[in-house]
């Protein structure tokens, strides 16, 4: 069990206890977290699951693949150095994840 903290652009935060091995995108979609669409279901072909990952958690994940990097350029909200596609961020036992949701995915 680990927790994902979803911070909306308006400052509202939602905390979800997720299942290890599932992605930050799936966890959001299953729990009705606004602002993460995940239209392609994690196939890296929609860029509607864009999030900003907490700076101090960047190293907890391997760097974006070439395909993720490509798709990040397609996101509706301009990417930042801490941008990730949340379908690629998998929950792991004991490490919480903090993400900020961009103002628009579409």
């Amino acid at each position: 069990m680990s927790k994902v903290f979803y911070l909306q652009p308006d400052g509202v935060e939602k905390v979800i206890e997720g299942t290890d091995g599932e992605s930050v995108m799936t966890t959001a979609v299953k729990n009705g977290v606004r602002g993460i669409v995940g239209q392609c279901g994690g196939a890296l072909s929609c860029a509607t699951c864009h999030v900003f990952l907490a700076e101090d958690e960047l190293d907890n994940f391997s760097a974006p693949s070439e395909d993720e990097d490509d798709m990040l350029d397609c996101a509706a909200t301009d990417r930042e150095p801490n941008s990730r596609l949340s379908c690629q961020l998998l929950l792991r036992e004991g490490s919480d994840i903090h993400v900020t949701i961009p103002s628009s995915q579409l």
Binding site: V29, G32, R34, Q39, C40, G41, G42, A43, L44, S45, C46, A47, T48, D67, D70, M71, D73, C74, A75, A76, D78, S104, Q105, L106
Partner: protein
């Protein structure tokens, strides 16, 4: 003991057209009862039809369901009608890895970012159309004057059709529209000319690329692979056919469903800019149920085949079985959403599957959403007193049952 206020809904599927409220009751009962039903299709034998939203998502996100046997002709597509040959050659029927290559290349060119860049020109064009309507004076046929014109212009823009060729492009493309109701030979002739025109345009863009989708595709390189014309043309066609007919229909249905739900129209008018995005999702989910027609328990998106035995939420789908989702069910599943029968323009949690989901989700989804948002926002911002001014005409002969005339006044 449970109290039963209403008689239990009939859970038989498929079902003949009934009042939308009754259809909603039945879909809710069916979804509560089971994730899917096996039925014999009018064409192509037996297939599973998924009702539940969560089951639909699980299937659409599972790579063990593929479309290859349909593409290769190894199997007839089980469906409600014959599937047109040319559709089988499109990206919809490809599976990974070839699908992945096509999909990514196209997706980048029609990405949320690219579409955001097109928004201003959509707003401008919508306003030009409204100016023309106002200049002509009411009443006006919204379908002709607005809902068809906007998507066709956006598509021409996206593909990179030069302004001087727009009239030709429009008439070829419009022949595929369900509202045009043309004879199949006429459509084929128009498509032939359209393909020829596109082929020449692709050649031109290969030599002199510009900032448009055809240039992107013509010059796309995926590692060391380029796209051939035979790959690009079907992509352009599916965008034209899938994109603009559907978008035009959704604009018409959306406006009519707002007219039919004056309380919801009032909610939208209070703050058009803020409400439009959720209103558009609700239109995608449910507007077809609010235009005054009965609803049948039937219909589905393009099918898949299971490559091995798969357990989907408790139902075994055996290797080789065909499976598809009925978006009507998934969009009215009371397990996945509150009060599915209610048209709620502020619905916050709206997991509809009208644009599908997963690997094969609608390629043009960002564009369609943007166009619908702009169409609804600008129309009601400029003409807040817009009202229906005469009977609507719906073409029941066509599968998509498009609205061909929606008289409006303001």
């Amino acid at each position: 003991m449970t109290t039963i206020d209403q008689p239990l809904a009939d859970t038989a599927y498929p079902f003949l057209p009934v009042e939308p409220s009754e259809a909603a009751r039945r879909y809710a009962a069916i979804c509560a009862d089971r994730p899917m039903t096996k039925m014999t299709m009018p064409i192509g034998g037996d297939a599973w039809i998924i009702h539940r939203n969560s089951t639909a998502r699980a299937m659409l996100g599972d790579p063990r369901f593929v479309r290859e046997p349909f593409r290769t002709g190894e199997r007839t597509v089980p469906y409600f009608m014959e599937f047109p040959e040319f559709l089988k050659s499109t990206i919809q029927f490809e599976d990974p890895p070839h699908h992945t290559k096509l999909r990514r290349l196209v997706q980048k060119s029609i990405s949320p970012k690219r579409v955001r860049g097109m928004r201003d020109s959509a707003v401008k064009f919508a306003n030009e159309l409204i100016d023309e309507m106002v200049a002509k004076g009411s009443p006006s046929n919204l379908v002709e004057d607005y809902s068809i014109a906007l998507p066709i212009q956006m598509l021409a823009n996206l593909l990179g059709v030069p302004p001087e060729d727009r009239p030709k492009f429009e008439s070829w493309s419009a022949s595929t529209l369900s509202v045009a109701n043309m004879a199949p030979e006429q459509i084929a002739a128009n498509m032939g000319e359209l393909v020829q025109y596109m082929t020449a345009l692709i050649e031109e863009r290969r030599r002199e690329p510009r900032e448009d989708l055809l240039s992107d595709l013509a010059n796309a390189r995926d590692k060391d692979d380029t796209l051939t014309d035979a790959e690009i043309i079907p992509i352009a066609l599916i965008l034209i056919i899938g994109g603009f007919d559907n978008t035009a229909n959704f604009i018409g249905q959306g406006v009519l469903s707002l007219f039919n739900n004056q309380d919801q129209l009032a909610v939208l008018l209070e703050d058009v800019d803020t409400v439009a995005p959720t209103a558009v999702e609700e239109i995608l989910r449910h507007a077809a149920w609010e235009i005054g027609n009965p609803v049948a328990g039937m219909g589905a998106l393009v099918p898949f085949v299971a490559t091995e035995d798969v357990d989907l939420e408790g139902q075994l789908v055996a290797k080789g079985e065909a499976i598809m989702i009925d978006p009507n069910g998934a969009n009215h599943d009371a397990i996945a959403m509150a009060e599915p029968a209610t048209f709620d323009v502020r619905r916050a949690d709206n997991p509809h599957l009208t644009l599908s989901f997963g690997l094969h989700h609608c390629l043009g989804a960002p564009l369609a959403r943007m166009e619908l948002q702009v169409a609804i926002t600008e129309l009601f911002r400029r003409l807040p007193g817009l009202r229906q001014d005469g009977p609507v005409v719906i073409n029941y002969d066509n599968l998509t049952q498009p609205i061909t005339s929606l008289p409006v006044a303001w």
